[in-house]
Symmetry: C2
Subunit: 225 residues, 2 copies
């Protein structure tokens, strides 16, 4: 399903470039449940952004279902971003002037659903993560963990086949974190592919494979037993 | 040092109010090392914001060194906020258009230090948390954990007597997180009062007292053995 070959990514800074990924290769098959770990600054979010078609590599190849993403048309890339992939950002990236409900509805906007259908699905997603009582709150009227859960609901509302979650429990107490992991567990049992970045061992233990990054390269890639 | 009596805080929402703190009382003495824990939405950040003089309670009393904060002049409150207290925000609250160095220098701006002294102290603080190589990066040119560490450096640069840290390791891998906790441990040994919100048991284990919130009240307040 997901195939990355010798991915490189660097960012321009002043006269030079900051290397973020220095040759990353892996294949992730449909239905896998992968934890990505590594030190702060090791390239995890950069990798996730490329997998999520939110950024492009400086070198190397990223193919989905055998087709190189770099060769796809804008429409095809948009389809992947909006329909195939659900992305939970490390910084949530909620729109500050919209309430939680509208934030969660966003991925459904271009699917030809009527507004009551959109509303219903968004409320379902918010209930699953326990923030439906904050539906009319804007992000700055919610706690950090409530914002995080709204971001998770938004990623799941479209029932994407691939879920990319960047530190989805970083702001959640253990109890709420385990509720979120139970959702991911269920979605994976139902066949969704899940790749999540975490620094918490008990979160990673839900996954079946760990990819550990270090300074922009893969240091370890093995099953979790 | 810190004395809170029957603190209440609620936020206006539509026609009603959202209760965040529903009668919280505690005394935290100079040099204590306290972990605040509790479910997402239980009132931890609201409590921290009141302790940090960044918000006022709807009812109840907050006194520092015996003086009720509500009765202080604006200047006195500003002094406390800027000189006595170092605050690490759950969402970092870095200024997006300034580079990391300038963000960290901010608390020093009104102390009559010359710019090279400010620069030196800011670089020291950034080195302590391992982000000095990102001094000239703006927040969106850094990883999540690097931003978090810049926020920590900014809170510590003024050597405040009270450090309030809201989830200071939420975006950090275990290794980097332990480096940060070692800094807090040292500061506490040197006499600084530290109150930190965390959802991670191994982080709380550095502290000597735990205050657990539940739905806006204190459910537990005991020493950590
Ligand atoms: N500005 C606001 N307007 C309305 N409600 C608010 C506002 N700020 C906070 N709340 C509500 O107050 C309650 C407590 O919020 P607080 O941020 O203190 O929780 P928390 O314990 O820090 O949660 P988390 O662990 O998720 O960060 C939450 O239910 C939240 O929705
Ligand atoms: N826009 C940018 N400009 C310059 N450097 C960048 C930019 N974005 C990321 N970097 C650098 O690339 C490296 C990798 O960043 P990335 O966000 O992928 O790390 P990460 O593993 O997600 O870290 P964390 O665990 O702290 O979130 C970091 O050293 C970071 O400073
Ligand atoms: Mg990251
Ligand atoms: Mg909070």
């Amino acid at each position: 399903l997901i195939s990355i070959e010798d991915l490189h990514k660097s960012f321009p800074m002043g006269d030079g470039r900051i290397p973020a990924l220095r040759g990353v290769s892996a294949t992730i098959n449909r239905g896998e449940y992968v934890a990505v770990m590594g030190r702060s600054g090791s390239g995890k979010s950069t990798l996730m952004n490329i997998l999520g078609c939110l950024d492009t590599p400086t070198a190397g190849r990223y193919a989905l279902d055998g087709r190189s993403v770099g060769d796809l048309t804008d429409d095809e890339q948009a389809f992947i971003r909006n329909r195939m992939i659900g992305f939970v950002f490390q910084a949530f990236n909620l729109l500050p002037r919209m309430d939680a409900l509208h934030n969660v509805e966003l991925p459904l906007l271009y699917r030809g659903l009527d507004s009551s259908e959109r509303r219903w699905r968004a409320m379902e997603a918010m209930e699953a993560v326990g923030v439906s009582d904050r539906a009319r709150h804007r992000p700055n009227e919610m706690s950090g963990g409530q914002r995080q859960r709204v971001a998770i609901a938004r990623a799941l509302v479209g029932e994407p086949s691939i879920i990319l979650a960047d530190e989805p429990t970083g702001n959640l107490d253990s109890g709420t974190g385990e509720e979120i992991m139970a959702i991911f567990d269920r979605l994976n049992r139902e066949g969704h592919t899940i790749v999540l970045v975490t620094h918490e061992a008990h979160v990673a233990s839900h996954c079946r494979r760990i990819i550990r990054l270090r300074d922009g390269v893969i240091e370890e890639d093995r099953p979790i037993v």
